[in-house]
Symmetry: D2
Subunit: 333 residues, 4 copies
Amino acid sequence: MYITTWEMDQDLGTGYHQRFLEWLKQAQTDDITVAGALTDAKGDRTKPPSQQEDKDVFLHVVEKRAGGIVVRGAKLMICGVAAANEIFVLPGTAYREEDADCAISFVIPRDIEGLTIVETRHPSDRRDEEDGVDNPVAEGGITQAFLLFEDVFIPNERIFMCGETKYTLPAVSNFIMPYRSAIGGCVAGQGDIKIGAAVLTARANGLSAKVFRDKITKMHINNETTYALGIAAAAKGRKHPSGAWLCDPLIANVNKVYVATLPYETSVLAQDIAGGIAETGCMPSYKDFQSTKYGHLIKKYMTAKYSAETRTRAARLVEWTTIGGGVPGCRAC
Amino acid sequence: MYITTWEMDQDLGTGYHQRFLEWLKQAQTDDITVAGALTDAKGDRTKPPSQQEDKDVFLHVVEKRAGGIVVRGAKLMICGVAAANEIFVLPGTAYREEDADCAISFVIPRDIEGLTIVETRHPSDRRDEEDGVDNPVAEGGITQAFLLFEDVFIPNERIFMCGETKYTLPAVSNFIMPYRSAIGGCVAGQGDIKIGAAVLTARANGLSAKVFRDKITKMHINNETTYALGIAAAAKGRKHPSGAWLCDPLIANVNKVYVATLPYETSVLAQDIAGGIAETGCMPSYKDFQSTKYGHLIKKYMTAKYSAETRTRAARLVEWTTIGGGVPGCRAC
Amino acid sequence: MYITTWEMDQDLGTGYHQRFLEWLKQAQTDDITVAGALTDAKGDRTKPPSQQEDKDVFLHVVEKRAGGIVVRGAKLMICGVAAANEIFVLPGTAYREEDADCAISFVIPRDIEGLTIVETRHPSDRRDEEDGVDNPVAEGGITQAFLLFEDVFIPNERIFMCGETKYTLPAVSNFIMPYRSAIGGCVAGQGDIKIGAAVLTARANGLSAKVFRDKITKMHINNETTYALGIAAAAKGRKHPSGAWLCDPLIANVNKVYVATLPYETSVLAQDIAGGIAETGCMPSYKDFQSTKYGHLIKKYMTAKYSAETRTRAARLVEWTTIGGGVPGCRAC
Amino acid sequence: MYITTWEMDQDLGTGYHQRFLEWLKQAQTDDITVAGALTDAKGDRTKPPSQQEDKDVFLHVVEKRAGGIVVRGAKLMICGVAAANEIFVLPGTAYREEDADCAISFVIPRDIEGLTIVETRHPSDRRDEEDGVDNPVAEGGITQAFLLFEDVFIPNERIFMCGETKYTLPAVSNFIMPYRSAIGGCVAGQGDIKIGAAVLTARANGLSAKVFRDKITKMHINNETTYALGIAAAAKGRKHPSGAWLCDPLIANVNKVYVATLPYETSVLAQDIAGGIAETGCMPSYKDFQSTKYGHLIKKYMTAKYSAETRTRAARLVEWTTIGGGVPGCRAC
């Protein structure tokens, strides 16, 4: 919102930018963690807010008071809320004049009155928790939340947009462009883990990584592509008068296309290298491994070049990053 | 084994084919279900059985008696055992003379003495079981088993190969070629379900399937490709003197390549059409849906053009076929 | 037209089918070669014939006489005319009632009064003719013609459709479906030549084909795919009441997509294996090879494992099939 | 050679760098054009120079004199020689000690005694020259030459490497890395021309560019990818102690892979949009267009939404960039 509030101040003298800067300084002083909340429930995807049967499917102002506003609605699939001190709410999309009630941005503490946070499930979550081989991730892990706003009061000093529909498109765009650039590095890092886990599984099977050289090269290419396009979007960016740096939107958007496709190709290659266990996620349960009756047999037959445990942990990591909880949501960005 | 036992009878006068036919007729008369077991534990993948530290990683004969043989080892990742009356064991690969003990084929009842069957887990299995929206699959579902043979006695009349290493390559090949042809139709059918589930999710979101026309066309193309290559492998096949039909091996092998790649591309397209929920499998739990405190809010915000339940069921089906238990193991075939 | 004229006879009692059969029998007796002419000039692609500024851009009837019709217009990009005894003209697309004048089909001798045939050029044609290394193709080669009809009289006994617009769509479709099936074999054959020429060039360079195994495998896969889909479209076809065999339209259309893409990928692989000379088509002229001053130097430096002549001929064949006159027109089919 | 000569001076005190700088300053003062010559004839690709039957297939020193060296051999496929004042010769690959005679670098005027330059042909070159629609390129155009060195004397002050085999790998690498980065922008520019020419042809046919939106987007993505990876390789580079900038080799090498594949995909898309004429390069000759007998008919039937001339020129440009003389040699780089 840095750029958007700066522009609103320049154009309209709203004072949002000054307010935003004050909050930002305090946030940096207190060294707090902030989650960004963008996506509304959206209801019928073909209709704008004002034509929705249930007006609440877009987060909106239901009451204006002297000291602030009251908002109702929801923000869905919000990452990192469980680990955040505060939640920064952005308009979910560009709005027209008739939907001015939805053109809102503000920041709130996570435990604000009237906000219910429901963490979603993710693939194989119960299995991850119970499975002995994955103990190290018993605490922490993936979080993605539904934020349910039941008439939450936002005080004025926490509001950075309220009805200025003209600025919703830039606000979203200023958020998306660096996001589409930066996520290239994020999925590249995940891709590097896929390479490591796949190669480890192959070695545990007794196979040299050389056998898979072409596939590993292709995985590296995929990783470096999304990373490098993010770098290029930044390098070809420009300084905004507010002092912020704007990524090149064309390259950022090209990166979105790759981020939405290459990680899935990399996953298929990781499964290909790791073999059937990782591909289908089918393997005996940890409980079976521990069985006094036949656990020793499972360990015996899961052993290859390396131990059953090494193979299982490696294959589970490939599974986790390719069809499990670690699959990134890259296509919605 | 039809062709292989026929050839062994022709060449060596083993009597295996006659024995096989007798079993086959009885199996057809009794209308039993049979699971095929091919894959050994394999141990260190770079070594043949005779050089493995643990000889048992390939199923092999440990004792020959007058009335039969005793076998030890394991067959892993075997589908359909839970629903089968009998299990048909094949040699897992081509063997050389020094590994003649592993060149075995036989058929056994599932509850034979000395055989332990351990069903594997699969992605999101616990979630599938507990999750209210998937209740219809509470019984049945995916099965894939580890078969652990602890000195199992196989009577002579159930043995179709025992030491004839020269026939192990044809036996495996005669199994694989029709398999690689037929699996094209299998994944095409799964692909059709992906199309249906993805389009249903899109419609529930309020979006017309027309928006995704190019993607749906690509999914159809992928499905028809593996299906048509299977048909072509059969059409260009030839009749073996035993009476069996042999698929064209070149086309069957080309189909293997597509079966190992196109379904994954189709999955990505399905997720792309269905959107973020299906892509990451992240959505509130069934328990949260039922909450008396905020369950109504989750339903409210999950509602789009169609109800929250419809969307959730549709998205879960996309998830199940693309990153869940329904993912086929296509690359090992 | 076999099926279409049969249906017209069944529905309308036109007598076209009987007439067609008589021509067909005579054509078979005389063992003549026939070129099929489908594509009209089409003018502005967004307009039907009746709205075109120049009515002649679709071949049409300009006069009806007792003994026949007079037609004007053009058929463009028609293959094989130079080697044909007769030309079989089909409606170029489906027409509506107001464009009934264009709904015509007939067969004519190539030297009919009023027809001008202009052969088109093709890539590197002059070079092919002059270049000493390609002497064997001095006669023959690629032909693709513009047929210009300036008020050509077609006698009744040579007409198989004249105004029956309802049958234009089936006529085109009955032509296209077997075409889309059969062209899969055509481009597969060309693809096999690309493999051979590329491998020959590599060997002439001193490189083993093993180095390129993955690329050659991919080329084979591409070739077999279009071939097998054609086979499958036929195998899943059905017998039409007229006695003709109808290909499965879904599989035939899937093949169209592959035929429009895979040969180009195969070409890139062929160039990749053959190296820079084949990729860019840049090499000294035959005249330079013959130079008494420096021709010996060119031969000296073009020599690798095999002679300069072998390398040049092989590379020229790769060039010819990938960026030269041998490039098939696959996307318009 | 800037970095390599600097390092040789640092390590060996050769004085090459000082010599190189003096030449460079003069070259800049005189504002001359320089062509770089890298690729040797190479003979049997599996053998190093010392094992070649004909030693001359790698350019090498045949005599050392007080004032300089005499070299024999060839440099092939050298671009831009026709327009260059001087030719800068680099070692063609990394050499071992036994091939020290080949470890040479020097710069020469184009008209030096003993050097024969033979320009190669390129696809459709004769056609380009004669074809009336392409008259504007009658002068200039593509050049790629064979440089034949018959005992050419190189004076000492023009030599920058002579026998220092250890520096041949860095010399080649320092050339290749910025090349692989920069060529991304080169083929992106060609790709933009393909888009423009394809869209122009489509419009001339009467079709809106909207119809091809997905294909044009894909073309843009391809162009921006090679361009952005070049930018990223530079942005992630580092300053060498000599003052030169070194590109990131990993990203530069990833770009090589894209440069060797994406332009060919872009070409296929351009042909797809432009249609059959551009795909096959088949169209009437300019001479036919001028025919007093039927030239008016060709123009009449080549006319679509726009004139025959516009369509022909546009289609020829697509042809030229996709299967003609404008095809870049991207895979050898």
